[in-house]
């Protein structure tokens, strides 16, 4: 093989591997840059932020000190933000949820799959919902790994067939999203509500549809079209489903 042939064949192989970028790559990149969070500020801002966080931690420890509590401190803690949290037990604060990314919302009837881990065994430890600008968010937090398989699909209407019993259940809203998890459960590490009615603009209700022999299904009742996007985050492991509201 001559030098020229070698070069030609090598470039041909690279062409086979790469092809051409899709026509929307430019738009994707542009949108991602427009929506990206602000660039990192100078270090002194990080220093001020660290000092503020330290003060907050000291304040929380001071206020939350059990030695300062009287016998009748039990009560409901309300949050100023419209975020509901249902967890089985206190856990370290998760890393911050991501800000909206350039990832588009999916509005058609299709399935999004997240390959889980092997060996699998992610038990659900928390279900959190929150309303944000432009979307409502459901966060499913796992402990002990991740399910082997995670699928999200949309459906017309909000009637779901309950696993095991075969009974039907109808959620609030007009359309539904079904989250299917294999090698997971909603009873070992989770003891929160199994039916969460949010009152949000998009995500109206989250309800357990199945939790049996390693199969978990969660039904989501959606107001309006079920347009969504998913993300899988780590530390701790979380599956995030954003439902578009505008």
């Amino acid at each position: 093989m001559s030098n020229e042939e070698f070069r030609r064949e090598l470039n041909s192989a690279f062409d086979d591997m790469s092809g051409s970028p899709t026509s929307n790559l430019r738009d994707r990149v542009r949108a991602a840059i427009q929506e990206a969070p602000e660039r990192r500020q100078p270090y002194w801002i990080a220093g001020v932020a660290a000092a503020v966080i330290a003060v907050l931690i000291v304040g929380v420890l001071y206020v939350g000190n059990p030695l300062r509590r009287g016998p009748s401190t039990a009560g409901v803690v309300t949050s100023p933000t419209p975020i509901n949290s249902s967890t089985a037990a206190p856990s370290p604060s998760p890393s911050p949820s991501p800000s909206p990314s350039g990832q588009p919302f999916i509005c058609t009837n299709e399935t999004v799959q997240h390959p889980g881990t092997t060996p699998a065994g992610g038990e659900i430890s928390a279900l959190r919902t929150g309303a944000h600008s432009g979307y409502d968010r459901l966060t499913i937090e796992f402990v002990n790994g991740l399910p082997a398989e995670m699928k999200v699909s949309v459906q017309s209407g909000t009637t779901f067939v309950m696993g095991g019993s075969g009974l039907r259940t109808t959620l609030k809203g007009q359309n539904g999203i079904l989250i299917f998890l294999h090698d997971s459960d909603l009873h070992t590490a989770y003891s929160g509500p199994l039916d969460i009615v949010t009152g949000y603009k998009g995500l109206a209700e989250v309800k357990r549809v199945e939790d049996y022999e390693g199969y978990v299904q969660l039904g989501l009742g959606i107001n309006g079209p079920a347009c969504y996007r998913t993300m899988l985050l780590t530390n701790p492991n979380r599956l995030v489903i954003d439902v578009q509201t505008s």
């Binding site: 690279f14 970028p21 790559l25 991602a32 427009q34 390959p115």
Partner: protein, 177 residues
Amino acid sequence: MSAAVIEQRPQHLARAVEGDPESFSRLIEPLLDHAYRLAAAMLGDRHAAEDAVQEASIKAWRKVRQLRGDVASLRSWFLSIVANECRMARRTRWWSVIKVAEVDLPPAAAPEARSDLHRALLRLSPDERLPLVLHFYLDLPLEELARTLGVSPAAAKSRIYRAAKRLRADLTMEEVF
């Protein structure tokens, strides 16, 4: 890249450094094709390549001040960020999202249709493929290629030659450069 685009690059860079995302987008748009081809060759996956280019663009946007107004280094700087993003993507590939409905790219050549050279190329690690892509496929000048790899020109030359020799053992240095 057209002459008009090249002429406007210093202005775009200056505005990007001041925080204008539109100017930054215009600055890197001419580089996206190279960036995509680099990522696709390193990752061997076209969807992952586009994701890596998108992620690298965001990281570049956050770091644009590092360029210090040096437009001449823009391409090597951006491609090195893309290469780093590809390395990151390979480490975290297991949790990537598969969107079934978006699988609309033309299929790559079937394994049996690939040439011996193609198969040998696939056996190289992404970091071994990187200098080959930059030299043979993207045709970068040696100085720029070295900046992208973050090594001296002599070291870059050596990496290209070593990787090329793994594809064809009888290559001489003169045949590569």
